[in-house]
């Protein structure tokens, strides 16, 4: 099978040595969403250890990387202290970069993108804008129609964004990071 450089890139960016995992399975046992995943974290570690391009793509195309909540329970219980959440962040960005996306990534990515748009334009989270953008991206128009009016009545929703002055710097931060395609930032 074809070997690939993805594993050494992954190691370089995250500092995680996948060979250190000895498959005890504590991460999978403690993962609250393991049962919803295509394969649980310890299996993902084993796939990485094989070092093949085929298995690497299998990971990028799985829902496992998207369902990881970064709750860090796996890291907390790993006898080798392997930073699986950091690996997950890296694998998600690679999955977006290579456009190898499991369908389960769609609502999750739509949420994150809507969230970041709100911050880019208003400096702070603007929930009304976030939910509107999320609905627009996912066509889930009816979602949360029952709780939104209650939130409003209880004073939990801003009708307008909060005042934030340093918008120029915020735009610059986005332009230099997530919108910058020139750097090798994963």
């Amino acid at each position: 099978m074809e070997k690939n450089h993805n594993i050494s890139d992954l190691q370089l960016h995250t500092g995680v040595e996948v060979v250190r995992c000895y498959q005890c399975g504590k991460c999978s046992a403690g993962c609250v969403l393991a049962s919803e995943m295509n394969f649980p974290p310890s299996y993902l570690m084993r796939l990485l250890q094989t070092g093949t391009k085929e298995n690497y793509d299998k990971i990028l195309l799985s829902n496992s990387i998207w369902l990881c909540l970064n709750c860090e329970n796996c890291l907390g219980r790993c006898p080798m202290e392997i930073d699986i959440p950091k690996l997950m962040d890296y694998l998600r960005t690679q999955s977006v970069k290579e456009n190898k996306l499991h369908p389960d990534s769609k609502p999750i990515l739509a949420f994150h993108r809507s969230f970041l748009d709100s911050i880019k334009y208003t400096g702070r989270l603007y929930e009304v804008g976030l939910v509107a953008a999320f609905k627009f991206r996912t066509f889930r128009l009816a979602q949360d129609m029952a709780i939104a009016p209650v939130m409003y009545l209880k004073g939990k929703l801003h009708i307008f964004p909060e005042k934030f002055n340093d918008r120029k710097r915020m735009k610059r931060i986005f332009a230099q990071t997530i919108e910058n395609t020139k750097t090798d930032n994963p």
């Binding site: 909540l69 930073d83 962040d89 977006v96 911050i119 709780i147 610059r172 931060i173």
Partner: protein, 279 residues
Amino acid sequence: MKIGYYPGCSLTGSSREYNESVVALAKALEIELVEIKDWNCCGATAAHVMNEELSLSLPARIMAIAEEQGLTEVVVPCAACYNRLKMTQHELEDDGKRGRVAEILKMPYHGSLKIINVLQMLETYGAENIKARVISPFAHKVACYYGCLLVRPHSILQFDRVEDPQSMDSLIRVIGGNSMDWAFKTECCGAGFSVSRTDLVAKLSGNILKDASDRGAEALIVACPMCQSNLDMRRGAINKTLAQPIDIPVIYITQAIGLALGIGANELGLKRHFVNVEL
């Protein structure tokens, strides 16, 4: 006693009652909170899932401004913000990353701030004070729920025990409450999936509420706005996953202590919850 304050986005909107109760309690304990000027969002889960440099630059701007303002210590009540700020400080100990972030921000960043969560603020500046001021003991059996972001990763946060934390339980005992042993103290509630995968949040939060309820808890006590909103605002969706609906309230540690100190329910934001609070 003066201390820097970073409320974060949730505390100005969907979790206003957390802000109200932190402010009311600080006032009662004579702790002066100095808000960071023109603060921005920490980027939360979205930034670190999407782009590493963005996830470091957003918290770095907040801390750079606080440093410029002359603050040395900042309390961060939101567990997610607390986690992001602490993690960023840790990541920026790397010279390469710090240099790159300084270039992005065009602001000096020293990494000298002490970042603490609300439990640490209460332990450090309030525990004795609280004890002396209890006028109406909080005589309830409760489950203290810490969630993920306050305690993990332990190697970096260095706060409390990772599987069976005790700081919130101790504070509950100080105000006359009965905090119980239970199994879901640090299990994840589904956090950032509240909008994108409400089904999974309902299932995970349902497991947490059921264990607390089965053991006879009268309330869940929290110190994270995401945990609170998932367990409270999503109660309708949660109850659909359970055989028996659960109606126990989820309140902030600052609200529980505020009640014991005789602060009014309105001032503590207790009317803003979805699940009625009758304690």
